[in-house]
Symmetry: D2
Subunit: 326 residues, 4 copies
């Protein structure tokens, strides 16, 4: 399939390029960036230096392709949507424009989260990948909500690395201010609360902290079950939901150093690791989910969704497992 | 006052030395370390290199002093307590041995947390400094608990740097495993839960994460008030409690980069920064407290408590405010 | 080819497992670790958690295999070498035991550095991979030495991440001491000086600094040419040597952010990036080489050498390019 | 002395405020920032939050003061110099405008580096503090150059944290690009080469690397003596130069973890640590100097110079020693 990446100079765009260039079914024919048009992609994305012949192009002229990935910022894909869709049979959007099925155009897009929407994704040609924190929270909470193991609200503590803020410098991501930050930049009222509610039917009372990482999202959801629950019930709910998922790993060891999900080991990989613990009185379930915000939370989720939509083996192009140590 | 530091080769011991060496009322006459006896303290604590004449000594022979600070590990001070108390009129313990007033010997010790126990500390000669996470949580929660603004349990999310684990190498603090860790090493059942309950009368449902910092503790307490509360009520409760405290700063800005407490700016200083936010429906109060675990959470808290006990100006020897950037 | 990894619980061992498990020509049949025998490899190497069925085994019983990778510490492979070689047709050693061709057994081993020894590696069944800093320095210096562009000694400044020290905790790698270290642990007399001299015929006056990274080696070689040289001569020497190398990238841009090699973008990948600059008077050439010490400097170099020895396409199993940002 | 800080919202300005607010002989009456005029300094410098009454003011109206510290960017102090000097008896400039004694106005300024210019500083009312890397390099090289232990050029490898680039965000200091950078941003031709030549009479062939730190400069100078030298000769040259210096510590241990200067332990303090090693053949001396670029390399050097100029005890206001661990 011929593929274009729109907004290819950003961090999500760079990861889309990396994954698409290594995907046996995809052939990258265009990578757009208004600012860097004419320069090799490797000048902006040093990990792609060896693709010396691949240059950024202006987004104004689009080659006809089979699939178009968009990593454009909020509002920009919606603005040029008609032109886009005439150039590409399949559109996979990684931005927020079409995430809300009740928003303008949203009804035409399927949620690009195979763990929750696999059957709807089969054959889909319009795919909207959820936000990275919403993905982690939804994977963490939905099976327990579905099993009746939580009341209708949950404290959701989300921790995020700096790459989630994008490639544009700002005071918030200036290195001397950010390297050692534990910055609670949104203690209440985060707009992903609505997305989580939609994906798993639970009110999330979110608090988001920028932590001293570049990549990685970790979500800690504190759920209050309506009655005391046992660990086995929680295991069972997660196993029922995810036992066959190629990219969900259940991690809840009783010993060893790495007993619960930690995003560090997921850098570059498409896994979402999932684990939990239960208070001694059974009245709080702590669920932990971790992922790489640029991969499973963006570019990897997009490729995985495309694989499902096209009927490719779901792991295709997503084999890199992450690193240890890192 | 002549002063001894027991367990002076650890991180808390090193900070006690730094603070005591800079304190105009204290004269350090002994710094003990069995392992390093005979060596200059600067070999272990490079920030004290210029004190070339101060050598570690064996702990077996103690000079008679006015005040003895103990940074010994769990159980060791209790074991030699009689010998200690005959050598020093005042004992300030930074370990856990006498924290529990109902534990052996605990009834003789006053809690070394002036913000909560100032009047009891006046004239005290036995002082036990609480744990760093308990200090942060108690300062955060107690005023709201006292004002009836929380129900009887709270989700307490504590984040801690690596120095809290002490100076002894271990797999958990091996740099390649720890530099990028978001390691939830205690999701439930942390033993500080009891200490917090004692200090502020609320059940803390704690989850503790080791984060990529060396110094610093940040506590995020999610409180559920029994009725919707307004921001002004919370402000009022904190102001009533802490307006005159020299080391508590209220930080809850509506704009700017640093709106809520972040431990990075507190490194080396004795402040505990305190802030909060309230969900739009008034049904969750998010309280954030930050401190340097080795200073306000240990050595600084000890010196501040001694200042109160001895009637010195409370800030004496604790003037260093922290750094920015860091 | 059936493959065994000896010493599979260390960091190099973990990377050998990752690469071998993703290599289409290799089938991992054994991963040894005395300490962790019987446990899944994913408990030690969280990035391999999804290989739930692969357990560490005792090293005392070795399956007959086609290729054995050894990541054993100094001296241990030599000690059991006879037993090893009866169990495996091809041995690839990543330790130091057989690096010196004049040391015991060394004459039977070919240096596992295809950029310098490709023809000797064809068909080889005994391969010894050089040390990570020696690899970077040799790739950097040899073409200029061969072209007569340097006098007989060079200042070689090597910077290394903490993973190079291995998986065993020690005071030097204790996180609070290491996270912000710029620790010159060997200012003179490093034993890689001899290895570099052997690989490129130049006396290296090395200074080694432990820097605040987990992965990565960066070598800055300051060469004094016997006469003023121009940039074009240096370019020419490097192009002649490396233009066709699949894993050497020449990086010496005049503009942009990433003008010279930086190890951060190489994490997990097998590239060695190489660049340079020349003083205005032409009397100093600064050559910079960067690589991932666990991949190109160890496990990746081993797999690349095996690919050459066996006649596989040289990139097989080494396609992951690294990440940006990271 | 009444004191003003010009350019008080930058990082050097913030450290000037911290030091001046803690200096018993200084009374801060004005802190200027055009951008932040009217806001409390603590909004920009969180470590100064407790100075709630100190607000930034416009730089256009200057109070008459005894001493004015300028942390203005290149060219700005020179532009308003006449107005400045009519408002302040003593001017201490931390920018580059008057560093060159042969540049415009430079002849009136004394170099603010007491270790090299103490006698000239006594009574001085115009002081220009050298750049942070030049300070470290000059302290490292000058005694050996004076003793004839080096030839006329030296390889100077300088490593710098991100705070040296100032408080203004840029692509080079965007956290995702900078957190793990080993970025050689100036391999040759750095403009501090001239400043070093002026301060110590040796051509410095500099290479500058941005390393993953916020604070700290470390300089490694590789000197080639004209004949083989012994360690004792080098010790002797440094002792002769610095034995009585309050802020120079000689650090060259044969054992232990911290054998050579490392900037991490100097954060916030005014020390420059200095150490060295010698190749076995005596033909290379490796000198290492470390300091906090914002303190000894800027604000602390300024206060120390003022202390000398005014006849205050040289350590006044500079007692904070740094931290361990950090």
């Amino acid at each position: 399939m011929k593929a274009t990446v729109l907004g290819a100079a950003g961090y999500v765009g760079g990861e889309l390029l990396r994954l698409a260039l290594g995907h046996p079914e995809l052939d990258v024919v265009q990578a757009t960036s208004r600012r860097h048009a004419g320069r090799p992609v490797g000048l902006v994305h040093p990990h792609l230096r060896h693709h010396a012949g691949l240059l950024f192009t202006e987004p104004d002229t689009l080659e006809p392709v089979d699939v178009l990935f968009s990593a454009l910022p909020r509002g920009e894909l919606a603005r040029v949507h008609d032109r886009i869709t005439s150039a590409a049979r399949t559109v996979v959007d990684l931005g927020p424009d079409f995430r809300d099925p009740e928003g303008p155009g949203g009804a035409h897009y399927v949620t690009g989260l195979p763990e929750l929407y696999r059957s709807a994704l089969a054959g889909a040609t319009r795919i909207s990948v959820p936000g990275c924190m919403a993905t982690a929270a939804a994977v963490a909470i939905r099976p327990l909500a579905a099993a009746g193991l939580t009341r209708d609200d949950a404290v959701v503590d989300a921790r995020t690395g700096s790459s989630g803020a994008g490639a544009e410098p700002s005071p918030a991501t200036h290195h001397p201010e950010r390297q050692h930050a534990m910055r609670i930049y949104k203690a209440t009222g985060h707009r992903h609360e609505r997305e989580i509610a939609r994906l798993c039917g639970v009110r999330a009372r979110m608090t988001v902290t920028a932590v001293p990482l570049v990549r990685g999202v970790q979500v800690v959801a504190h759920l209050r079950p309506p009655r005391p629950v046992a660990r086995a019930e929680v295991w069972s709910a997660f196993r029922d939901a995810y036992a066959d998922e190629p990219f969900v790993r259940l991690v809840a060891h009783r010993s060893g150093l790495h007993r619960l999900p930690d995003p560090q080991f997921l850098c570059g990989g498409n896994f979402v690791d999932l684990g939990f613990d239960v208070d001694d009185d059974g009245l709080r379930v702590v669920v932990v989910a971790a992922l790489d915000n640029l991969v499973k939370g963006a570019a990897g989720g997009a490729v995985q969704s495309l694989n499902v939509a096209q009927g490719f083996e779901e792991r295709t192009g997503l084999e890199f497992p992450g690193l240890h140590p890192v």
